[in-house]
């Protein structure tokens, strides 16, 4: 899932204070699980903005709404007419949602209410950890299912570096050394020899470094276009 955190309220207030009609728009999937931007969080944030506006004497109408997902049009299209009546949408979806809505909403600004952080898991309630960097060229079969790109602070392909300390990363005793975990995991799998091979310099063009990425499934795209033609 995508993990995010609500922006500091002062920053949000600075963004919204000049607008008269504001919609706080929640997304009830990933960012709801991490309690950052679900429909419930959108409702609370809308109340906080209303209180602040009242305290500051700023006339402002603040409402909230929410949908299941901001990243697919069918979820927000039914609400589009209403959404377009506001002069600001404060989206609490991830950055994908903010981008996607911005492209479709015409001349109304869409501002981010949360900071989108990473692809993560929930090892325990209230804790979210980054496990994948979305680099577009998965090597988890070589590293015991532990990602060196996401979980090594230096994204080394042939780690661990000299900074491993008590199994932790040199950046902090709070952060596990990804490569320490990889080596120990490969021992348990009886596959340590895989790590004796040099991993060559990567082709990072599959990651963000190759420019914005896009995946097209021609068969599905064609089918959809065909259906639209035939009605």
């Amino acid at each position: 899932m995508i993990v995010g955190e609500q922006k500091p309220f002062e920053e949000i207030w600075d963004m919204v204070k000049g607008f008269k009609r504001v919609l706080v728009f929640g997304c009830n999937t990933c960012v709801a699980i991490c309690h950052a931007g679900g429909n419930k969080e959108a409702e609370i944030l809308a109340s906080m903005i209303r209180i602040k506006a009242a305290e500051e004497g700023v006339p402002m109408e603040v409402r909230h709404a929410g949908i299941e997902r901001h990243c697919e049009p069918e979820f927000f299209e039914p609400l589009m007419e209403e959404v377009k009546t506001y002069d600001l949408v404060l989206s609490t979806a991830c950055g994908v949602g903010v981008n996607f809505l911005s492209e479709r909403i015409g001349n109304i600004p869409v501002y981010p209410g949360i900071n989108t952080e990473f692809y993560g898991a929930v090892p325990q309630a209230g804790v979210f950890t980054e496990l994948c960097a979305g680099c577009g060229n998965c090597v988890l079969h070589l590293t015991g299912g532990i990602c060196p790109v996401a979980r090594c602070s230096k994204s080394l392909m042939n780690g661990p570096c000299g900074g491993t300390n008590n199994g932790k990363c040199e950046i902090s005793q709070e952060v596990d050394c990804g490569w320490y975990l990889i080596v120990e995991r490969m021992k348990k799998l009886g596959a340590l020899e895989k790590l004796y091979q040099i991993q060559p310099a990567r082709n990072w063009s599959t990651a963000r470094h190759g420019g914005p990425r896009r995946v097209v499934l021609e068969h599905i795209k064609d089918l959809e276009e065909e259906e639209q033609k035939t009605g």
Partner: protein
């Protein structure tokens, strides 16, 4: 003995290693300043007391005179530099451009390392640049491979031809006491497989640990394909030894050594000057003992001595360790 024609780089360090005599490298940290004089001063202190000196590449991620520029300043003074290149600050394009430039400027040794994370730069009183973006396009092992490909195949990493290849003597680092310890010799082997001609180790105080790691290294045959230089960090105070034991990754200091320094310090009583001088004298003694013990270990071809911000200690250390004068070679 191979002549200069058989040399990979023809660097002084390579010649000393080829001669079979124990090699000595030192370390020179460039200043946080555009003033060349500190480099020149340190270069003149180290000249004659090492075969080559590492010029650190923004160590602890702190902005300093670049390794290449400081290496050229040292070279002008007659001190052979080992330029260091971290993977933190440059992608493969910048790395190769800098390597070509460094070779064109007459540099012949290059040590390939990952580099300290940028968060280190804000340690102590410095503001540093903890918000910097790091690069790590390639890692240290891949960088070694890039240098080798450029030197031996006259090819860039991407495959384009180099009309004149940069002839570097290629170095890499080894942390024998780093975790997971049983994997470290294999990782060292990867560096040598990639093309590392010489290896400088992290500072060693725990000789027994290093002996046992070197045995594993010898069992892999790695010591025959590269020159391993044992790392010696000259201790200056009991506090420094304690700090290294507790806080420096991959370094452990036996209690006896810490106690030995403490004893000397305590014997000086409240006289701070006396305590400082006594600890420094003991630190030099310890360094000399460590050098001798490290050089006795089979497969070790020399020492990398770091007298951090204490270059003036090098003559005494080398003389006491029987490593002075350094070998010289007639110009080819």
């Amino acid at each position: 003995m191979g002549g200069i024609d058989n040399m990979k780089s023809g660097s002084n360090l390579e010649k000393v290693i080829a001669s079979g005599k124990p090699a000595v490298t030192a370390e020179l940290g460039p200043p946080m300043s555009a003033d060349p004089h500190e480099v020149i001063k340190k270069a003149n202190m180290l000249k004659g007391y090492c075969d080559a000196a590492n010029i650190t590449d923004c160590q602890t991620a702190v902005v300093r005179i670049s390794s290449i520029a400081a290496a050229v300043l040292a070279l002008r003074e007659g001190l052979e530099p080992v330029m260091q290149m971290t993977c933190r600050d440059r992608n493969r394009i910048a790395m190769q451009a800098d390597l070509l430039g460094a070779a064109a400027l007459g540099l012949k040794n290059c040590l390939c390392i990952a580099g300290d994370h940028q968060s280190f730069s804000a340690a102590g009183k410095l503001k540093g640049h903890p918000g910097a973006k790091n690069v790590y396009d390639v890692d240290s092992i891949q960088l070694v491979g890039i240098l080798k490909k450029m030197r031996d195949e006259s090819l860039q990493e991407g495959g384009d031809k180099l009309e004149v290849a940069p002839k570097f003597f290629i170095g890499a680092a080894f942390t024998p006491g780093g975790e997971p310890m049983d994997y470290r010799p294999y990782r060292l082997k990867k560096k040598v497989d990639a093309g590392a001609d010489f290896i400088q180790t992290q500072g060693i105080y725990d000789i027994e640990m290093f002996k046992s790691q070197m045995e594993k290294v010898r069992n892999l045959g790695v010591h025959e394909r590269t020159a391993i230089l044992g790392g010696i960090i000259v201790p200056r105070t009991a506090m420094m030894l304690r700090y290294m034991d507790s806080s420096v990754a991959g370094v452990s200091v036996p209690k006896v050594l810490i106690e030995r320094m403490m004893k000397v310090k305590d014997a000086a009583g409240d006289d701070k000057k006396k305590a400082k001088a006594a600890q420094e004298a003991e630190g030099i003694k310890i360094a000399v003992e460590l050098i001798q013990q490290v050089l006795e270990i089979p497969g070790v071809k020399g020492v990398h001595i770091q007298a951090i911000e204490w270059e003036s200690a090098m003559p005494e250390i080398l003389k006491a360790a029987g490593l002075y004068p350094r070998p010289t070679f007639p110009d080819a």
